[in-house]
Amino acid sequence: MPALPLDELQITEKDPKTGKLRTVPALHPDQKADRCFVLYKPPPADSATARVEEYLERAAFIADDLDWLLGLPHKKFWCQVIFDETLQKCLDSYLRYAPRKFDELATPPSAVSEMQQRLHRSVFLTFLRMSTHKESKDHFISPRAFGEILYNNFIFDIPKMLDLCVLFGKGNGPLLQKMIENIFVQQSSYYNDLDETVPTILQVFSNILQQCGLQSEGTSTAPQRLAEKVRMTPSAMPLQELRDVVLYLCDTATTLWAFLDVFPLACQTFQKHDFCSRLASFYEASIPELDSAIKKRRQEDSKLLADLWQRLSHSRKKLVEVFHILINQICLLPILESSCDNIQAFIEDFLQLFSSVLQEKRFLRDYDELFPVADDVSLLQQASSALDETRTAYILQAVESAWEGVDRRRASPVKESP
């Protein structure tokens, strides 16, 4: 007899209150163990013994509890995942506060590093198990119920998926890709959530510009306090504030890139919000100002400035790569993969997308540096004989003019076929 999916499975057990036999769904709150997961806190910034001990104690609790969880049979595991709020908070706190490698904190004591590695693996395996609806021939959840369980219980949400990509995407990309794709396939509501999240990402861009005094805070007619009128430019702001802005930019650029790198199918949803041109505008407004602010501060903490400049350069590269992933996914890949009949729409998208960013000269230079626009145009020319040469020439000319008056130091373009 074929096994039933867990969501349809019933079990017969003794009622703890009455002692009589009863039949209950296998997924039932009573099946949850009283475990009490603690919240994750990151390793301390210093090596003070008390703080290190507290970190180790807390982390050991979590690592032991996750090992216990991963050793549970399928149905017990899912009861714990669905009904134990402390587990969900524990996992969420790890995603929030686990140090990213680019945070560049001081090297922790070896005991802390070892514990952090143990935790890192256990957290990943827990998320892997939670994104798997078919564990074996006999242990599975029906796809529809699985999608509802994940979504209705916030087992995954968009910020969690972004965190997973930035924490685990480098070394475990292929597996993570399967996990995230499966989550979106089984629960299409996550696309709606992504659609709702993109405006907040764009708001983060606006907030960074506001912090840099490069964008006013809307068109409110309410009276402003005098202090609010004083906008701090990156060049004038205290070094620590500049540092915060650059750290925020660095995390934002890296996290966005890590997510789209693992899950490029999200690109269409991003572009529904005109993301490419808004990204280019943001780049154009923020990067030259921050660049210049760091360069001008030659009298201040040189080590910190060098670090900030490296982070800014990294952020630039990631933002440019985000743009490229979007272009690649939205226009270039469909052109390469489609038959001759239906590529015109994608070519039109490409031309419109580039036309919309031609005034962002600094962005255009940096993009062209890593992903020569001429190569993409050449691809279009090969794909379609009916290409509007006037428009492509206009785009190429605009790219060339963006380089005018600039010492062109072309780096090796990223070797990557679209």
């Binding site: 806190k41 969420d92 945070d103 892997l128 924490l167 999240t197 590269k317 940096d366 380089w403």
Partner: protein, 201 residues
């Protein structure tokens, strides 16, 4: 800067988007204390209770020996009382005493691992009490073979041996995204600006 305050994109998404569960984390400030008490309960639920230890002694020793060992058992209970405190009642003291017996039953002294285990279970504790409990357990253990002691502790332990951890064969990489080398993207800014900054960091 506090590590927890590092500015994150996902922090903003959690705060300002409508797609996450809005959890309140403030109430969890005392979660370590709660966890320790849960752990004590878990240990007692495992089955190695103080009564089982007393019965084991009664069943396996001559009456004369039992009288001597009873003094050692009292020492362990006394130590547990000092470590656990009296606020939690006799049950918690006996549960703590069973844990001390379990921790020290094959040890000569309070080593690093034992200190860690006690710390995890009880939080900070007086070392003299731990030493007293260790010595008393040693004296009790001297009346039994190692196999019999192991059998006493193991028969009550959770049956973990045959559990298969999900993902134990998954190849996991600890590699994480780091800052990219910026040489790949030189400054395409104004020509004069490039002369100001040194790339030689």
């Amino acid at each position: 800067m506090n590590d927890m305050d590092l500015p994150r994109l996902t922090g903003a998404l959690r705060s300002f988007s409508n797609v996450t569960k809005q959890d309140d984390y403030n109430e969890e400030s005392a979660d370590l204390m709660l966890k320790r008490s849960k752990l004590q309960k878990q240990i007692s639920d495992l089955g190695l209770t103080w009564n089982k230890i007393v019965k084991f002694v009664d069943d396996n020793l001559e009456k004369k020996e039992v009288q001597i060992v009873n003094e050692d058992l009292k020492d362990i209970l006394r130590a547990a009382k000092q470590i656990v405190g009296t606020d939690n009642g006799q049950e918690a003291i006996e549960s703590g005493a069973a844990f001390l017996f379990k921790t020290f039953h094959l040890k000569d002294c309070v080593g690093h691992n034992e200190t860690k285990a006690l710390n995890q279970m009880f939080g900070p504790f007086p070392s003299s009490s731990a030493t007293a409990a260790c010595n008393a357990t040693c004296r009790i253990a001297s009346h039994f073979s190692e196999d019999r002691l192991t059998a006493l502790v193991q028969m009550t332990e959770e049956q973990n041996g045959d559990r298969v951890l999900f993902g134990k064969n998954i190849v996991f990489s600890f590699d994480m995204h780091d800052l990219d080398h910026f040489e790949e993207l030189p400054i395409n800014g104004e020509a004069d600006a490039q002369k100001v900054i040194s790339l030689d960091y």
